[in-house]
């Protein structure tokens, strides 16, 4: 066997050993890449789902409308502690993000878990505009009952916790959608009945703004008196 051939075999053997050593970690890396493709929407969702904090945040008892555990065709007000801004737009965003992220149990969820709130505005006439990602549409179970409960959970949660919103327009990814998931009409405005809790200032609408993350920690104050839980029948 020539010297050159021996050298070549030695180099190949060394490469083989190195390959065998690094193969498992390469495989793990590939699996990670295949199993976790980061789409633009996912990246946005990760950013959006960071809780919003504002300098005026105060811990209050918010009334959140999720499905009733005893009667899943109805909504039930559930009080939870939330840091909420005095600014109605930021406050609404905090509430809607919590409505998606903080459902007490999967069976009480009204909005798709992977839906995100992309933007929220309140016009001076009290018409709010909520722009959700496509997942609100694709992730809501198809049917009049489930779609109407999804819309009602949004309007009732806003109505119970944000003063000054009269009506709500729902957009999907910035566009007017004909229906939420094949049944409930999204072309119109949904009424929002807005009882003004005693502790919430009726601040003027500040218009739309990007969600702020980080910022001042929430101030802690005694929980606001909550209205008695009520059910909305469907």
């Amino acid at each position: 066997m020539s010297r050159a051939l021996k050298t070549t075999i030695a180099i190949f053997a060394a490469l083989l050993v190195v390959g065998l050593i690094t193969l498992p970690s390469l495989r793990r890396g590939l699996q990670r890449m295949n199993g976790n493709p980061r789409s633009e929407q996912q990246a946005r969702r990760e950013v959006m789902q960071v809780p919003i904090s504002t300098p005026t945040d105060v811990n209050v008892q918010a009334q959140m409308y999720w499905l009733s555990p005893s009667s899943p065709a109805t909504l039930e007000a559930t009080p939870i502690q939330l840091p909420l801004s005095a600014d109605p737009v930021e406050r609404s965003k905090q509430l809607l993000i919590a409505l998606i992220a903080k459902a007490p149990a999967p069976e009480r969820r009204t909005l798709a878990a992977d839906a995100t709130l992309l933007a929220f505005y309140i016009q001076p006439d009290g018409v709010a505009i909520a722009d959700f990602s496509d997942e609100l549409s694709t992730g809501t179970p198809s049917g009049i009952l489930s779609e109407q409960l999804a819309v009602d959970s949004i309007t009732q949660t806003l109505g119970a916790n944000v003063p000054g919103i009269r009506q709500l327009k729902i957009l999907i990814h910035g566009q007017e959608a004909e229906t939420l998931s094949g049944h409930v009409d999204l072309s119109g405005l949904f009424p929002v009945s807005s009882p003004v809790p005693a502790n919430v200032p009726a601040a003027p609408a500040s218009g739309g703004s990007a969600a702020k993350s980080g910022g001042a920690p929430a101030k802690s104050v005694p929980a606001a008196p909550a209205p008695p839980p009520k059910k909305s029948q469907h």
């Binding site: 489930s146 109407q148 409930v184």
Partner: protein, 223 residues
């Protein structure tokens, strides 16, 4: 074409009172169809299939009352919301019933929906014309009455169903210029289609009884 001469004033006919409304036609709408299967259960039951079979049964029951029944689709096709509305709006003395199966709710129950009044805000007719997308605006009360009558029947026939209908912004109803309701059966989320199919005859009977009751109300001018 020669212009028509007006008859002498003395011989002009009196303005006729509106004829007594006569309910003659029911447009039944098996929702979805074609590529749009509507609600789909984990075990493969599809809303578009089930509602078509329901519609055929309801048709038989209504025809038994001497009513003319038109289905918005006869097979697995998918007319648009507006095509279905056009079919209903072209009829006189008509009511519209759209049939659905949900993906949620207690299996074996039925809910009836009509449009809420505020969904048609800003639709006041001008010069007798009503905007297409607010066609339901003049019929919200009669639709509600029809929904109440059907819901009562459903509560009697299907235990666990509510006794009072719900107002919901159902897209299909908005462009119907006639009393119009949505009937939604729960649900496609069950392993076997048999229980759903077994609901068909009682559903058809209940709808037919309610329409018969509504016919009396409708033909007496809503009184």
């Amino acid at each position: 074409m020669a212009p028509q001469q007006n008859p002498p004033v003395a011989t002009q006919p009196q303005v006729q009172q509106p004829a007594t409304p006569h309910l003659a036609v029911v447009v039944l709408d098996p929702a979805h169809g074609g590529a749009d299967q509507g609600a789909r259960g984990s075990w493969g039951i599809t809303e578009s299939d089930v509602v078509l079979s329901f519609a055929r049964l309801v048709r038989i029951s209504l025809e038994g009352q001497g009513l003319r029944v038109i289905l918005t689709r006869q097979a697995n096709d998918d007319p648009s919301f507006d095509d279905r509305s056009k079919l209903a709006n072209a009829q006189r003395g008509v009511i519209f019933v759209t049939l659905h199966v949900s993906s949620t709710g207690q299996p074996g129950t039925v809910r009836v929906y009509s449009l809420p009044p505020d969904t048609t805000t800003g639709s006041s007719p001008r010069g007798g014309l009503v905007r297409w997308d607010h066609a339901q605006s003049g019929f919200v009360d009669s639709s509600r009455r029809l929904a109440e009558l059907i819901q009562i029947q459903m509560a009697q026939n299907f235990r666990g169903s509510p006794e009072i209908p719900v107002a919901a912004a159902v897209r299909q109803l908005r462009t119907i210029a006639a009393p119009a309701v949505a009937v939604e059966v729960s649900s496609v989320s069950q392993p076997d289609r048999k229980p759903l199919d077994q609901m068909g005859p009682a559903l058809a009977d209940g709808v037919a009884r309610a329409v018969a009751a509504f016919r009396t109300v409708y033909e007496s001018g809503g009184k």
